[in-house]
């Protein structure tokens, strides 16, 4: 979900926008600290990369850290989608209907 948010935001992906995007996806609040912790883990796995922007006065003179997805990250997203799609197709429609009725 985090990787999708970064892809979706493109060049505007930094802590605040990513958090807002995730809140919109999930429909509930997300801690900015947890977003940063997850992004650091992804960065350590070379799935995303980051760079510092310019400091701005509305942020108290603190710079933004922009995140971009890497090639490995993109292929990981595709692979995940493929696997999910395959798994999804294996579930019979009837079973999903029963679940919905319940």
């Amino acid at each position: 979900m985090l990787l999708l948010a970064v892809i979706h935001l493109g060049d505007e992906a930094y802590g605040v926008t990513i958090t807002q995007q995730l809140e919109a996806y999930r429909g509930r609040g997300v801690a900015v600290g947890s977003v940063y912790a997850a992004l650091e883990r992804l960065e350590n796995k070379n799935l995303v990369e980051s760079s510092l922007g310019d400091p701005t006065p509305e942020r108290g003179g603190k710079a933004k850290r922009y995140f971009r997805i890497t090639k490995e990250g993109l292929s990981q997203v595709h692979e995940t989608r493929r696997v999910l799609t395959r798994l999804w197709k294996t579930i019979p429609e009837s079973m999903l209907e029963v679940q919905q009725e319940n």
């Binding site: 930094y14 802590g15 801690a31 947890s34 650091e40 509305e58």
Partner: protein
Amino acid sequence: MRRQPPQLATWMLEHLTTRHRDDALAGDLLEVFRMGRSNGWYWRQVLATCVLSWAASLRARVPLLVFALMWSMAAPAWMLFIIRLAGLPPVLIGLVVWTILNSSFLCAGILVYRFSLKSFGQVIDRRNLRHAMWSAPLIFLPSLFTTFVLMNLYSYPGFSVARFATTPLSQIADLRMPADALRIPYVFALLCALWGAVPRSLRSLQQLTVEPSAIDDSSRSDSSGLVYELDPFTLRRFLGLMVGAGLINAMIIGFLLCRLPDSHAPAFASLLMRAIIYVALGALAGAGGTWLYWRSPASPFRAHAPIPFPLFALVCASGWVWVPSMVMFYEQISAASAFVAMIGAFVLTSGLRSAAFPAFASGQPRPSVPEMADGELFAESLYRPPIEAHGYVIALSLYAAGAALLTRLNYTAAALLAFSASVFAWKRSMPQRTSDETGNQYRQATLRLALIVIPAVLVTIWALLDGVAYRNRVAELNAALAAGNGAATNDNANQKSRPKASTLGFGGYESLILWPFPEKKQLLPPIPMEDSLLAPGTTRPLIIRFNGPYQYIQPPDRVPGPAAHQAHATPLAVDVQSNDFIPIMMDAHQSLSASVRIARCRKIEVEIANGDNRVGTVSLGVLLTDETSSQKRSVDLGRQPIISTEPGNFSIKSAPVFEKLHFAVPANARIRKFNAITVVFIPDIKHEFVAPKIAVQQFQLFAR
């Protein structure tokens, strides 16, 4: 005017988070806050960030946490060693020695941590290491003092610690409060000293080429990949040397540390714990011994290792784990030692064969079945097997091992069986097609070791059980021999009621009770109350001749066990000493036939006969006990040194020296009457393992 977030929260964000790479997170929080979020939201974000940051920090230091806990387990045993070592010099020098030894323990722990990390491909910067080495002792001293004060306050007026320490192994396994309290400062010092030294992986360091000085030359050569430049003969020779070095080290540790449990009927849990410790010791000792040769400048493996050392250690550990059980079986003169050695040798060699196969691949072909043309009629009958000299060697070794077993040369049999098993495994085991990836090889080696450790532990438990049974048999034999010689007593009635003697070592006893000789006239002191000189109105002292038992016990026991050896003798005529390096405690117990009121007794005079010719001061302590009460409460009358044992008055005695010691009885005591007098012999360090040859003659009770 712009809104400002709570200052305290901002301060916490800046100072209480541990992984701040830059201010981006703080800037993001400020930006969202100024969009209209509340102070509560800001506080929640800051607190969540703090918790997440500390959790991540702890997660990065899990190995350190585990290591600090494991290393500190040995702290009580180390303290026991220091007390014995530093107990001799004067106080000031003793304090200096104590501090140096404790610092050495911590520094050794830091070095072990560093080298164990290196085995897993991680490294600590030298600067951080140096910082940890000098800061650990500085942190340790105040933390020890603080722990000491807090624990004494918690358990005021202090812990009831046993008078003497026990064996190092029992100290390591001791999980009671005093031992745990002792471990706290060690854990704290190690954690604080190494907290800033977060290990980094060697691979990442090499990729980034950051700080070349942080990685020493040896580590680079370790991780230089699999370079096979050695000819097969040199490779085989040095591999044998490494395996042999580890084996000898594991055997040394086995002979030195693998002991049988003190108890004669040990619980399964304690046996399991002991077996796991011994198996781990065997593996660690083997790895340690090999590592020294592996890293030696003369070793070709230092530069061109056929396999990485951690992988080699993992593979060989599957053989070394059998060494402790083999050693214990050998000490029991059991033929099982030879078979355990054979199993260990086979497992080790086959594992090594698989792991090191790529190194030999160029020089030695993979064992294979002979090729036959398809459809060739009677092809099998025309096939002539090749002559294999090793088959004859194995057969001869097996015959020789059998002969050695028949003549009870177990060690020779073990060596021959191990040799034949090794040759068989090397020649006939089929190397598995292992993955080229080192990670997979590690996983396979670890899984194999984990599977082998289980039977190794079970066999070690068997060796322990067999050892206890063997020890008890030897004890019975000794007791039977002693009874046959008529050395102890000829009292048949006592002989029948006496429990079976049992040994701690060969020819020793778990505990000992010396009774007065039976021909001595039995007295039942004090005399009946109506005749008692302590009765109201009397002032003459009451004299009680001592006719109770002397008890010799070893910690952690406080009273002689049911299997204590009993004999009729006086301490002046017997030599009682420890044969297992556990101190001996001695006391003399006198039961009275009627209770004496504390309020009527002013003073007790103990008359002793000192026939001890060993230098060193011995003190006496006296306890008065009311055995009629449910709690068996006692009053301690304090301790008095025996003058004739003090350095200024000591002389070699051809006949016992008689001496009287006075003990004042408090008027207001916790008990109102007593019916037992216990005299505790409190020796100095020179009498720690040898019981003093001092006998109690009589007591005089003075009326108040």
